[in-house]
């Protein structure tokens, strides 16, 4: 199996690996996937009081493409509002990393991780920040 240079770069030098303390103010966590499926992704967002994602961290159990997809997502969400983050689609990730068809599910999982983290934030903060989260569907 051959990987694109971008996948290899993220795999070799993953950005933003790590965790925030769950109880820290403004932290949202999304965990998706299952060991039996071969991928588990944990994405954490640090959201400031203006509703902007200040920082993001990930941990991923999965193949090189899954690691690269999550690493890429942590870079992309920074500086975005939660709404803007939800605009990141798996197709963008797949295209950026030049994922082959058999690896598209990795980008889907990364998109799901964003959704899960945003949903976690909303469940903790009511609906004060976001509106219209399903508009793009």
């Amino acid at each position: 199996m051959s990987y694109s240079t971008k996948v290899l770069d993220h795999y070799e030098n993953p950005r933003n690996v790590g965790s925030f303390a769950q109880d820290e103010e403004g932290i949202a966590t999304g965990m998706v996937g299952a060991p039996a499926c071969g991928d588990v992704m944990k994405l954490q967002l640090k959201v400031n009081k203006d509703g902007i994602i200040e920082d993001a961290k990930f941990k991923t159990y999965g193949c090189g493409s899954a690691i690269a997809s999550s690493s890429l997502v942590t870079e992309w969400v920074k500086g975005k509002t939660l709404d803007q983050a939800l605009d990141i689609k798996n197709t963008h990730i797949a295209e950026e990393l030049a994922l082959p068809p058999v690896k598209i599910h990795c980008s889907v999982l990364a998109e799901d991780a964003i959704k899960a983290a945003v949903a976690d934030y909303k469940s903790k903060h009511g609906t004060t920040v976001e509106t219209n989260m399903c508009s793009s569907h």
Partner: protein, 403 residues
Amino acid sequence: MVKTPVYLDYSATTPVDPRVADKMIPYLVEKFGNPASRSHPFGWEAEKAVEEAREQVAALVNADPKEIVWTSGATESNNLAIKGAAHFYSGKGKHLVTVMTEHKAVLDTMRHLEGEGFEVTYLDPEPSGLVDLEKFKAALRPDTILASVMLVNNEIGVIQDIATLGEVCRGKGVLFHVDAAQATGKVEIDLAKLKVDLMSFSAHKTYGPKGIGALYVRRKPRVRLEAQMHGGGHERGLRSGTLATHQIVGMGEAFRIAKEEMATENERIRALRDRLYKGLSQIEEAHLNGDMEWRVPHNLNLSFNFVEGESLIMAVRDLAVSSGSACTSASLEPSYVLRALGRSDELAHSSIRFTIGRFTTEEEVDFAIDLVTRNIGRLREMSPLWDMFKEGIDLSTVKWASH
């Protein structure tokens, strides 16, 4: 500095030993005759070389040269032994016995026979990878014509007790076939003592060339087979086709070297394997696959928990090793051998088979220990499952949001 990728996949194939190559080349160039040509020296010279090689192969396993039939490799030998015997003896019965952890060449042949109306019992091995004698005995029936058990497993390197299994078969009048493709040069084989009726060999796992193998067919008591390849009547009609002299010569020389050097070579290899195991067993949550006592010294098969299989292979790509994931066209299939030992899919996926051989050095082993240790650490740093394990969470109780 070692040259990468470091080859630790000697059970997949081996380089041809330089001494083997030197013996083969003249039979590719000036001694090119067809061994079946009876009318001129080109043919005689080739035939003589073929018969010398037959003696060398027979000598390694203490058989009569007349009991050795050349084939294109162990896969063909397995096909010929199992189908050939099943067809010939189908009047006696239609039942065969084998083990779930056999090579695909045996399992697929069995499935093929099932399609022809034969019945096959596939025994589960013990978690150690070994066949339980009582379960084996219980599987043999009055209508069983043949049992097939490999001597050395290709993935986990465990050695089956074919001496005892053979006695059981002989006692019950069941033919016993043994796939010894992974065994030559690694374990002693004495066919004068073993109650084995058919045994498959390959050259390219023992520093000989690809494309050549042999089948041992016992003469006393005589075992008969229905030929699978018909034509000019080569190999006493058991296997037609022009004999590839250079390959046969190569196999002969490879087996001669194996006979001469296996005792000292295996000790050197055992020391390397033990060094590798000692180094890698420092890694937390590294699980050995297969029995350690009944095992060839060349093999080490470990599963690394909480690390995903494909990323593991990617992480260790400076090592040429095999993983427990067989890559099919679209998905990763966990190794059926490790699954048969009762390993979970995850552990089967995150396994690495290290196989050490004639040209492996201590530096290479140390390089492997360092590389694997560093990368397992790196991947676990990235793994949410490792965090959870460290926090004491039992992963089997977690409800996963599957996608």
